[in-house]
């Protein structure tokens, strides 16, 4: 993600991560910003502010990322972070159904209170704990995953359906393996409208599909739901 020096229009995008405690918000950010992963990372206190650039063919997006703590007692501070945010990553843990419920609450709150044009991505993290793991993600749908007796408790189907209903970008990721992490941020970057006005999510999302193809060739699965999501809009 190093900054190439080609003069491209550059813009800052405020992005906020929300979600239950211990779903892997900070790990996603750490993977995206430093391409690093820490086992047993200690909980975030308050919020962390990080920046990372994302190069698109036509422009450079500088993400100003607010990585918030998931604990209940910090919830009252959340508006401070999502106010004026152009993008939000709502994260849940694939192995913990209650975290999806919490994610839905955050989506509802964002839709009610955040800027109208906010781009929201729903991200199911910890794909490495499921049998489809990294690399083969998307091949196995919810039903198959459950048969194999892995740690997955939230089916891709369920979350994807919900994301489509609400008009969200949707990804399943693993911060541990790095699977799909950059793709989430690239998709968001693409989905941000040139004129930070009303979202034109459809074209943005399909653009994403093409873009990720360029970056990584062996991605087959979770991009498809994303593209479909774009069409569904």
């Amino acid at each position: 993600m190093a900054d190439s020096n080609t003069p491209k229009p550059s813009s800052s995008v405020k992005l906020v991560l929300l979600g239950e405690a211990a779903v892997g918000k900070s790990s996603l950010v750490l993977r995206f910003v430093n391409n690093d992963f820490q086992e047993n990372k200690e909980p975030t206190i308050g919020a962390a502010f990080l920046t990372q650039k994302c190069n698109l063919p036509t422009r450079t997006i500088k993400f100003e990322i607010w990585d918030t703590a998931g604990q209940e007692r910090f919830a009252s501070l959340a508006p401070m972070y999502y106010r004026n945010a152009q993008a939000a990553l709502v994260v849940y843990d694939l192995t913990k159904p209650t975290s999806l419920i919490k994610a839905k609450h955050w989506v509802a709150e964002l839709q009610r209170q955040a800027s109208p044009g906010i781009v929201i991505a729903l991200v199911g993290n910890k794909l490495d704990l499921t049998s489809d793991g990294a690399g083969s993600g998307g091949d196995a749908d919810g039903a198959g995953a459950e048969d194999s007796g892995d740690a997955r408790k939230v089916t891709t189907e369920e979350a994807k359906t919900y994301a489509e209903e609400e008009g969200l970008l949707f990804f399943e990721t693993s911060a541990k393996t790095g699977y799909n992490v950059t793709e989430v941020f690239t998709a968001i970057a693409n989905a941000i409208p040139e004129t930070s006005l009303k979202t034109a999510r459809g074209p943005g999302a399909s653009h994403t599909a093409g873009r990720t193809e360029e970056q990584r060739v062996n991605l087959n699965g979770p991009r498809d739901p994303n593209a479909k999501e774009g069409c569904a809009c």
């Binding site: 200690e42 206190i45 920046t51 990372q52």
Partner: protein, 634 residues
């Protein structure tokens, strides 16, 4: 550990001690007892008496007009007759030094400083004995403890290991019981809140027992403060609806354990504030406090572990500063003040857990216990450091105001990469320094060796919306510090580490010291390293992790014992010299400072006292470098 303890005045050397006020009027002489038949050379050490048994020595105390106290042994009258015949001449280096203890007893020695006061019978031994001693003085503290015979600290290296989840319950319980230190927090309704070791399913029943015991005494309006079971000491602190229990086999005093529990309570208040805590339990006494405290277990544990490892800062209730030249500190303070944002309450620069600079409003000062919580969060637990980037943390500083939150902006400077940067090009715009942050983070995270040098800027504001103001201030400050070269100065000072005894007082036989400036509530200490390396010029191998941990704990246990003896109620001790099989130690308290030091077991009291004197003179000389006096005020 058989040890002999002697209060400074229990032998012939001295009659009394007074505070180092410039030229105090000689206080009245202590009441004289009728001289007994003991000769001055007849030293009968209180063998095998524990250090704390100061009462075994008949000590009387006298208050002086300047508010200090003197302690006198009852055989003081004989001091006069102690001649200089021993041939021992105290090298009194600096007579003008007001820090040295002066004797007001008529004595043949012209300048009775501490060294001569405690120069006891040891010096009157035969020449052969003295020569033998000179050989044995090179024995380092704890050196005699052989590997494998760890005594009280057997298994300490496994103290911080997790109890495995996947083994049988009885094995887990055995591991749990083998821990030397436990901290437990529970609600008065008996709900477990926190336990340092073991998950709650394991310790739940013990929590129940503890709750029953405490409640029994509570019910009788006779609160239980502590009790001993086997070799473990239980200390209980009750704070409103919360019970705090410390269980220790490390030999700390009740007061010391209680101050550790107090710090854990402060951590809880820092998370919740006092009104919130009260509210929670006022509405539902059976509330499970684990939920509201979720995510702070690591903070409690890192705090607890720093106590178990032995924290000089907690022991002395003081802070450690980075040693800097006065002019440099002043310049940093001024840069800090110049870049100040309107929203700022407190500003701190901290390098590796040592304070570099503070700016504060005139009417507020910072409390050490609050800073301890911040330092613990930043440097001991990984919560903030591991995240990278900048942090914005709501927290309550209970000693400042336990009723509300402040907001803390934290930014770490990068490790090595940044240092090279600064060295090459002093010019760096805030913009570029900021952009480099993200790239350098990974390097820092993977490089823990740099911990000692980590520099953090901490900006605290009462306004929760002030993040961007403070961030701007940080960028301005960082640019200025880099440009003026002060950043690299701080970094090299941090890299230098703590002062070494051999530079402070060359030739002194002391192995380690702690010096607390009471007025500044700050302390300094020497670096912990095998002094033998310096003395024998043989490159001692770098002690491995567990060994280092053990050495540190032994040292801290000794300091805890000394501290407990000095601060025992009604003791009013001024100077204490204690010798055990493994080490000799000396404590010395005046209204200005508290001084503790450790030497090898065979180092004579005279040599120790002489070394102590030199270190204290050094600390006096270096006061404005070692300590922050006032800080930048706005």
């Amino acid at each position: 550990m058989a040890r002999q303890a002697e209060a400074e005045t229990n032998d012939d050397g001295a009659s009394k001690v007074t505070s180092p006020s410039p030229s105090p009027p000689p206080p009245p002489l202590p009441p004289r007892r009728k001289p007994s038949g003991e000769g001055p050379a007849q030293v009968a050490p209180a063998q095998a008496k524990p250090t704390t048994a100061v009462s075994s020595i008949d000590i009387s105390t006298l208050s002086f007009p300047d508010g200090s106290r003197g302690t006198f042994s009852t055989n003081a009258a004989q001091a006069v007759s102690a001649p200089a015949a021993s041939g021992y001449v105290t090298p009194v280096g600096d007579l003008a030094d007001s820090m040295s203890i002066m004797s007001f007893a008529p004595t043949l020695r012209p300048h009775g400083d501490l060294a001569s006061l405690v120069a006891g019978g040891l010096n009157r031994k035969s020449r052969a004995w003295n020569m033998l001693r000179s050989q044995s003085e090179t024995v380092q503290p704890f050196e005699s403890i052989e590997l494998g015979a760890l005594g009280d600290l057997a298994g300490f290296e496994r103290e911080f290991d997790e109890i495995p989840d996947n083994t049988a319950d009885d094995i887990r319980l055995a591991i749990w019981k083998s821990k030397m230190k436990h901290y437990m927090i529970l609600s008065s309704a008996g709900k477990p809140i926190y336990s340092r070791h073991g998950d709650l399913s394991l310790v739940n029943s013990y929590m129940g027992i503890i709750q029953t015991i405490i409640s029994f005494y509570e019910g009788a309006n006779n609160p239980l403060l502590g009790f001993t079971a086997g070799n473990a000491r239980f200390v209980i602190a009750i704070e409103g609806p919360l019970y705090f229990v410390a269980i220790s086999r490390l030999g700390e005093s009740d007061a010391q354990l209680r101050s550790q529990l107090e710090a854990l309570y402060m951590q809880i208040l820092s998370t919740l504030t006092l009104p919130t805590l009260k509210n929670i339990f006022a509405h539902r006494p059976s509330t499970d406090l684990r939920k509201p405290l979720e995510g702070t277990e690591s903070l409690l544990s890192s705090l607890a572990d720093s106590f178990t490892k032995g924290s000089p800062s907690t022991l002395l209730g003081a802070l450690e500063c980075l040693r800097l030249r006065k002019s440099q500190r002043l310049a940093i303070n001024n840069i800090f003040l110049k870049s100040r944002s309107e929203k700022l309450l407190y500003g701190l620069i901290v390098a590796g857990g040592k304070l570099v600079s503070v700016i504060r409003p005139r009417k507020h000062s910072l409390h050490p216990s609050d800073l301890q919580l911040i330092f613990n969060m930043l440097f001991e637990s990984g919560s903030i450091k591991s995240g990278g980037g900048e942090s914005w943390v709501p927290l309550c500083l209970p000693a400042f105001n336990n009723r509300g939150y402040l907001y803390m902006y934290v930014s770490f400077f990068d490790g090595r990469t940044d240092a090279a940067f600064v060295g090459e090009a002093a010019q760096q715009s805030p913009e570029s320094s900021h952009d480099s942050t993200s790239e350098n983070n990974s390097e820092r995270a993977s490089n823990n060796v740099e911990d000692e040098e980590e520099i953090a800027i901490i900006l605290i504001s009462p306004d929760k919306e002030s993040f961007y103001d403070l961030k701007e201030m940080r960028d301005k400050l960082a640019a200025q510090l880099t440009k003026s070269g002060h950043l690299s100065l701080i970094r090299s000072a941090a890299r230098e580490g703590r002062p070494k005894i051999q530079t402070v007082a060359p030739g002194a036989q002391i192995s380690h010291f702690l010096y607390k400036s009471r007025a500044n509530v700050q302390f300094c200490m020497s670096s912990v390293e095998p002094a033998s390396a310096a003395q024998t010029a043989a490159a001692a191998p770098e002690p491995s992790g567990p060994e280092k941990l053990l050495t540190h704990r032994r040292l801290m246990t000794l300091y805890h014992e000394l501290h407990a003896s000095m601060h025992a109620k009604y003791a009013h001790l001024k100077v204490l010299h204690a010798v055990s099989e493994d080490a000799a130690s000396l404590a010395w308290i005046t209204p200005i400072f508290e001084f503790y030091c450790v030497a090898g077991p065979n180092v004579s009291r005279a040599a120790m006292a002489q070394g102590a004197n030199r270190i204290i003179q050094w600390a006096k000389r270096e006061e404005e470098r070692l300590f922050i006096i006032g800080g930048g005020v706005f």
